[in-house]
Amino acid sequence: MGWEQLSALVFRPKVAELLVNTVLLVAIGVPATVVLGVGGAWLVERTTLPGRGVFKVALAAPLAIPAFVASYGWASAIPAMSGLWAAVLVATLAYFPLVYLPALAAIRGLDPALEESARSLGMGSWAVFFRVVAPQLRLAVLGGALVVALHLLAEYGAFAFLRFDTFTTAIVVAYESMFAGPNAAALGLVLALLCLILLGAESAARGRARYARVGGGTPHPAETLGLGRLTVPALAAMVAVLAGALVVPLASVVRWLMRADAAAFGDVGIAALQTLGLALAGAVCTIAVALPFAWLAVRYPGRLSWLLEGAAYLASSLPAIIVALSFVAVTLAFAPSLYQTAFTVVAAYVVIFLPRALVPLRAGLSQVPESLEEAARALAVPPAAARLRVTVPLLLPAIGAGAALVALGAANELTATLLLAPTGTSTVATSFWSAASALDYPTAAPYAVLLVLLSVPAVALMFTHATGRTLR
């Protein structure tokens, strides 16, 4: 593709329209998720909100409903829902837990002494929140906001349902009309650029600041704020958010499930098995690739490991559609025998989900003292065997967590699977999508239920991680 053709495809009104849509979506959606996420975390953690124990779990639950299932729920209940505001509404309700969870973890880790000092110096509650608490939450919230923004850029199913055009939906349309042609590539380039801008903006906003408590001892538990007259509005807001994020989509799914054809359940079983196979393969391979990365990062921190890790994070912050398109192009050009094989799907899963495995593995490895391995070696065990017999068993929980997170992500993956799946393969996500696209809501319902069930364990893992309770 020459420069002229590329610039003709990039600099055209349609791309401008997509750019406006995408920028508006991020500019409205991200602050909305931050408000809901931080507000929700603050309410359940630091106030006397009635029922806050239940709300604490419930606010994480929307993560278990994939955005494209949530939008199916909304759109099949209110067919006229479409455009920017519908997209913002559904996406915000689907993604705010991505901010809520890190904010919750950060709030739990705050030292209330700082707030008390501020208060003793005469600050009011709001001032304390914005001038003392907010800066300490900045890193967690920025991280969450970045993840939300990347999700907004990468999401296909939810926005296709709501007739809202973003770069990702336009790339799928271009792919459907021209396969992996120049138009899809041009749109993909712009989308990749947007992701890089987001990553850059986030790391610039992050700055070099770090917050930590200095000194020994543990912080005493924080005082809870009496809500007083604000109790009712706070409760109402909480209930409204949860109704939109959980009740509407789930009620829709259940309503269609009641009308589903019993004969269709056989196909659901087949799709579930194929999904399981691909997801497990994805998990095993991602762990296999992540282990050396994590090992390097923990045991031999340096420029090389930093570069490798950065590359992994960068690749997986690109929308899956771009990863998939490049796999299509590369396999067709250089390895046609690998094209449309399970190998390619699994390789794409590795690229997309590597960080999900890296994070727990790094954490796990850094908790295994190297001295144990050295002790084993001192007892004349060869190094490789020492690694296998001492370190690997201690790593098993981290390996398990990483593998679970990858498998669950892969089981819900839509765009890359659509483009790369071998002929004759249908996963739960792709089957759901093909039924839902034909507006065959009842047929789609059992797959929707499965997609939700498949997401629950990952959300439970994330929740326990955020609230600092260990899984035992």
């Binding site: 495809l9 006229a80 349309v173 271009a174 459907e176 992996a180 282990l291 090992w295 799907v345 034909a438």
Partner: protein, 349 residues
Amino acid sequence: MPSRLPSSARLRHFLVVPVMLAGLALAGCAGGAGGDDAADPDALVVYNAQHEQLTEEWADAFTAETGIDVVLRNGDDSELANQLVQEGKASKADVFLTENSPAMSLVEEADLFAAVDPSTLALVPEQFRPASGLWTGIAARSTVLVYNPELISESELPASLLDLADAQWKGKWGAAPAKADFQAIVSAVLATQGEDGARDWLHGMAENAVEYRNNIVTMKAVNAGEVPMGIIYHYYWFRDQDAAAEDSAGTKLHYFGNQDPGAFVSISGGGVLKNAPHADEAQQFLAFIAGEHGQKILGEGYSFEYPVASDVAAKPELPPLAELDAPVIDPSTLNGPAVIELMTEAGLL
């Protein structure tokens, strides 16, 4: 956290082993994953852009008759056509089935089709297949205007599809420009009005049309009163009426007739790939679809598309194909890539 750097030899040794292991694991588990979903190599591979349900019925009946297994790769007309062109000789496809003919022409022009068996062509009347004999029509569908009588009366309807580009119809009609179905209708506009005419019409459409994702969503929107009119193919409406009429009860159909581009009858095609690993079975499958059994599955089942071969009659609810007064267009002259280019230029893609 030890900060000492390893000697380079140790680093190498330590890097090589896990990386090799990872590579082995990747190859091993991908192979394992491939074991359960890569269908057996003897199965006939059909690149299927027709409705999944219809092709599955064909495949099951064909397997029951011949014992030959069939696997489908489902996608859209132009997606799969472009895919076949990019795959070229590497393609594992045996048969290509579409809903509309521009995608067939694309593959034909890339010289990827084998000649269809003369005995199969003999089953199909000449107007439903290209003169080249490199593929054949397997079904037909008529363009229709679906409208909501509560919002617009029959006497107010536009006389021609071309009128829908006029300013008075802004926001008054829906269509699914991203789908091959609609792109085939545009190819009829291009074939009858020439490039400039098609360009003007598409710019008018970009101004006027409410864009939906596919025919069903368009019909549903007309039914719900979101827009008064929509351009779709006939069988979606008949199919829904035959079921519970949930998405069409409040709508009626209008046929433009009069050889208008809006009366375009689109031919669904089937062809056998030149590089087909299972060429004989592929010809058998195509013969089956064009034969009486295959056409009856299409003509008598849920589909409501028009059969075009083996003298199988369409469902009695449908107006006879011969009376639709469609524009006469040789299916192999419909130019898919030019349509995509014009629609991209108009900002519809």
